[in-house]
């Protein structure tokens, strides 16, 4: 199914995004820090990915991607570098939250 890679991202993103809105966690307390934490690694890893894909380090199975491309990468792969870091930052705040509580 063409949407499969996209669905993997949606499933990964859904719970962290909804829970990130929780008042108790205060995830958006400093909105700029989210941008600064995501943007530089995003840029660097996109460059890495473009290089790696062009060299043949890896490729994407046409069966499971939409076919939409942005700077030679599947749009899903571009989203990966925002979705997964977002989920990780959320998880990091959750770990900190529980360590404060205990």
């Amino acid at each position: 199914m063409k949407a499969e890679y996209f669905f993997v991202l949606v499933i990964a993103f859904a719970v962290p995004f909804i829970k990130s809105l929780s008042r108790e966690l205060d995830f958006y307390k400093y909105p700029l820090r989210l941008f600064f934490a995501l943007a530089p690694p995003f840029a660097v890893f996109i460059i890495w990915d473009v290089f790696a894909a062009s060299r043949g380090h890896w490729s994407f199975n046409e069966k499971y991607i939409s076919g939409l491309k942005v700077i030679s990468l599947p749009v899903e792969e571009i989203l990966f570098f925002l979705v997964i870091p977002f989920c990780a930052l959320f998880t990091w705040e959750v770990v900190k939250y529980f360590m404060r509580k205990n």
């Binding site: 400093y30 600064f36 043949g56 380090h57 890896w58 997964i84 770990v95």
Partner: protein
Amino acid sequence: MKEYTLLSIVSVLLAIALDFALKTKLFFSKKFWIFWAVMFVLIFIVNGYLTWRPIVIYGESFYSGIRIFTIPVEDFLFGFSLITFNITLWEYFTNKMKEKEHIVN
């Protein structure tokens, strides 16, 4: 050394260097490693699915050939460095913005 292997090791070294440069001291903190214990499981599920299908296909001549389940070991270094960059920057700016708050108050 294979190209992906080399790049993924360099990326982890840069992530360690950034933690030192920004004085976030994550590598010496307990919560960072607890976080990684949790993250490892989550990465295993997502990356495991992507490589098992496979949605992402690897050029056999560019990585070590060693896989854990279906995941090339280099992918763990790739993911570890990516997310450690994110967390390091997040902590750095959290500290910066907290300081600023204190100055304003």
